[in-house]
Amino acid sequence: MAEQKKTVTFIIERQDSPTSAPYTQEFEIPYRPALNVVASLMEIQKNPVTKDGKKVAPVTWECNCLEKVCGACMMVINGKARQACCALIDELEQPIHLAPARTFPVIRDLLIDRSVMFESLKRVQAWVEVDGTWEVKDAPIQNPYTATTAYEISHCMTCGCCLEACPNVGPQSDFIGASPSVQAYLFNLHPLGKFDKEKRLNALMGKGGITGCGNSQNCVEVCPKNIKLTTYLAQLNRDVNKQALKNIFNK
């Protein structure tokens, strides 16, 4: 009896340039145990032939660490935003649909431009001033309980899942999304970073800031690092409201 060869079928949404129209192509690759989406895309790259035998340009995507740390391979897999490197074929329903995260500008195929998030991080001043603005001396000690929270938030890899899943982030709105907002909280927790707390809260009060949150809470559902985004957004809401009262009454 001839052995039935197991295969994996992909339906991939492709796009040749940032402005051209998207189209889909179907690919079939041989199955092997522990296969994930990135490894499958590598298989397609080796032999870029569609299911109906047409030779095409290999599918473009971005990946880097291959262990859910860098965030680069975020794409929409079977309708949900997630990391391709930890999307195991065994756990996915076939045919597997791959699409770029269209909340961001598409460069080509599954490759997107996530620089808008880095601009947002600049906007909320997601860093600690160590440029000699003030004396640091010995590094100040951080409350270990606060450090646990900071450690959790610092796992954020700016992958953009939370922005892709959020109904309020996209070309129709100016909301910066959960990830950059919550990074402001991370640096507000830092013993030196908290000196600039007011600046960050005022930045979050600006256009496209935290008021853009509509509490759909998709961010916390899709976050691959399980950061309690909605909890920190609620804390930031508290802080921003207090800051607003200060702005009104203390000046």
Partner: protein, 206 residues
């Protein structure tokens, strides 16, 4: 920096929960008194008519018309910021997020009809006296009855889910457990208010 959109959003939230929530509860209680029969309902309306007309009009404008117009018009701006995606992300909170917007759109149409016909046309222009008999005649049309029931359900859901999002937006319920409890309590209140609505609406038909 003035941050206009921040203050508008917060005002939208306060106005919705406190003022329009009050309007909804006032409507529920007044109409619930119809279950006591026409006399009780009409007595309640007569009590309201004891308020001198200019003061009553001022209350209607300040506590009803202006908050509804502000909440409605700015609400449309907010609703247009969203691209509902319950198809891909069918989580309970995401559904409520989408429903908050769907009910809002229904309310826009419903309120134009409800206020336009009952308050502006019948009471304002025709000088009709609002009474048990009038409400009964309006609700005797089955299509109107269904559209009114839907209008009430939409307003009640929008208000109750608004309590949950208010608690998040103002940082009152922060952790997942607190938010879950508020959500469940608000949905419980929603069910109770919907049942009360059905009870008084059917009492008009009986």
């Amino acid at each position: 920096m003035i941050n206009v959109s921040f203050y508008l959003r917060r005002l939208h939230s306060l106005c919705g929960l406190l003022l329009l929530g009050g309007v909804l509860i006032e409507h529920l209680l007044t109409n619930a008194s119809a279950m006591g029969g026409p006399e009780v309902f009409n007595q309640g309306l007569e009590m309201m008519e004891l308020i001198p007309a200019p003061i009553f009009l001022a209350i209607e404008i300040c506590l009803y018309a202006v908050p509804i117009l502000f909440h409605g018009i700015y609400g449309i701006v907010i609703a247009l910021d969203a691209k509902n995606n319950t198809g891909s992300y069918g989580y309970s909170r995401n559904w409520k997020f989408a429903l908050q917007r769907y009910t809002a759109w229904y309310m826009v149409a419903f309120l134009i009809w409800h206020v336009g016909y009952l308050r502006i046309y019948l009471k304002g222009i025709m000088g009709e006296h609002i009474s048990y008999a009038l409400v009964q005649s309006v609700l005797s049309n089955p299509a109107v009855f269904v559209l009114y029931a839907l209008g009430m359900f939409a307003a009640i859901f929008h208000f109750c889910n608004g309590i949950t999002t208010f608690c998040m937006t103002w940082g009152i319920a922060k952790g997942p457990r607190a938010q879950r409890v508020v959500d469940k309590m608000a949905m419980g209140l929603c069910a109770l208010m919907c049942l009360l609505t059905l009870a008084f609406m059917f009492s008009y038909l009986a």
